[in-house]
């Protein structure tokens, strides 16, 4: 039951199915009306010229902001509901005791489904080590989680079609698996803080949280509101940059730096992306604009992955459990993986 408060004293109990039904219907209406509405707004109401730099930039902005917001609201809610069935505690149980290669692949795959709230990075890391999961396997998870997150995948699907989303997922998984295997082989265990090893074999909880569907839907919507609120600044900046690129960036410039004719395109865009950090959702509008200007898919994917996978805030948090040498190895391995993916997909996708 959802409780609707009408005024100080009156409360109406609304059955869950009705609330969900109305919400889904409202979303569909907004989704279908959005494109024609923003087009009308830009060109009829504001009277901007089609094809003009400013007109196109504003059109991009007005089209993208509601579209991405709607996608986010819908997608995060659905994915969080699904994800409620895969808590990290269960993931850990599934990974413990598996062989290295199987474990690495499983860990990387789980990274897609599990949330990566930065504040959980440390407890998660400790939890994995506690259960005796090899370092490489843990890193496969740490690599895939922020990079191949479901928000990015579904946004890519919604905006560019399933092909691109699958390609991105495959690329991210590859970097995570290979990265995890490589780091595992390097024997960097001594660069993990001592207190983490001391906890090995202890802890673990048998507590299984029982949740009703009402709980799950409430949790999912609550998380969605919170996450969307946190993403929105990145999103607006991303859409702003995307709009500028769309309206103003000369196609020749993008082609010169990031285009096929430049063999150094991939390293250049990755280098630009390294110090930048954004939630995956924020990169999508930039990706959209770059693709529109003719940047090849591999280069664009590399750019997007570099922005999300390599983030200084995350490294600072991880510093609590691993030393800078290991963080450096982590960052380097991922960067090399991304460079490789960039070149590979430029080669494969014409």
């Amino acid at each position: 039951m959802t409780t609707l408060r009408l005024g100080a004293a009156r409360r109406v109990q609304i059955p869950l199915q009705l609330t969900v039904g109305v919400a889904v219907a409202a979303w569909l209406v907004a989704w279908l009306a959005e494109a024609p509405l923003s087009d009308w707004l830009t060109f009829s109401v504001f009277g901007l010229e089609r094809g003009s730099h400013f007109g196109e930039a504003i059109a991009f902005f007005l089209l993208d902001v509601p579209k991405v917001l709607l996608l986010l609201l819908g997608i995060i809610t659905v994915v969080t509901l699904i994800r409620g069935f895969f808590p990290p505690e269960k993931v850990r149980a599934a990974l413990a005791g598996r062989g290295t290669v199987a474990g690495t692949v499983t860990a990387a795959s789980f990274g897609i489904v599990t949330p990566f709230c930065s504040c959980s990075a440390v407890p998660l890391f400790i939890g994995f080590v506690e259960a005796g999961i090899p370092l490489g396997v843990t890193f496969a998870f740490l690599i895939s989680s922020p990079m191949v997150n479901e928000v990015a995948l579904v946004l890519l699907w919604g905006l560019f079609g399933p092909g691109i989303a699958l390609v991105y997922m495959a690329a991210g998984l590859t970097v995570a698996i290979v990265g995890g295997l490589v780091i595992g082989k390097l024997g960097m265990e001594r660069y993990v803080e001592d207190y983490v090893w001391a906890l090995q074999g202890k802890g673990g909880t048998a507590l299984e949280i029982k949740l009703t569907w009402a709980d799950r839907i409430h949790d999912a919507w609550s998380y969605t509101k919170d996450l969307t609120r946190r993403i929105t600044p990145y999103l607006l900046i991303g859409i702003g940059i995307g709009a500028l690129i769309h309206g103003y960036a000369p196609t020749d410039l993008v082609a010169a730096i990031g285009g096929r004719s430049n063999p150094l395109a991939v390293p250049i865009v990755v280098l630009i992306a390294l110090p930048l950090y954004s939630n995956a959702a924020g990169t999508i509008p930039i990706v959209q604009a770059l693709l529109g200007k003719g940047m090849p898919m591999g280069t664009t994917l590399a750019f997007m992955m570099a922005i999300t996978a390599i983030s200084l805030p995350e490294f600072i948090i991880l510093r609590r459990v691993i030393r800078w040498q290991l963080i450096a190895v982590f960052a380097t391995t991922v960067t090399i993986g991304i460079l490789f993916i960039g070149y590979l997909f430029n080669f494969l996708i014409v």
């Binding site: 808590p87 990290p88 505690e89 709230c117 504040c119 939890g127 802890g203």
Partner: protein, 78 residues
């Protein structure tokens, strides 16, 4: 007096959980001491991998989500 521990590094979720816990104690009419545990080793010792976690009188009752004040009040009354 019940001891309620909120496990987490101190981000917004942990703050919200602590607020819910306080409200729950008032709702249940129970005297409770609310402690924030931010040390990672201690959090891990309870087996929590997704913060925030909630421990009442030494027993882990929730992790990975923010239970409502109503839910917490129920646990406090048990």
């Amino acid at each position: 007096m019940k001891k309620i521990e909120v496990l987490g590094p101190g981000c917004a979720n942990c703050v919200r959980l602590a607020a819910n816990a306080k409200e729950a104690a008032d709702m249940a009419g129970v005297e409770a001491e609310i402690v924030k545990v931010t040390d990672y080793a201690q959090i891990a010792a309870h087996g929590v991998m997704s913060t925030p976690g909630l421990v009442i009188d030494g027993k882990l009752v929730s992790y990975g989500r923010i239970p409502s004040a109503g839910d917490i009040a129920l646990w406090l009354s048990e």
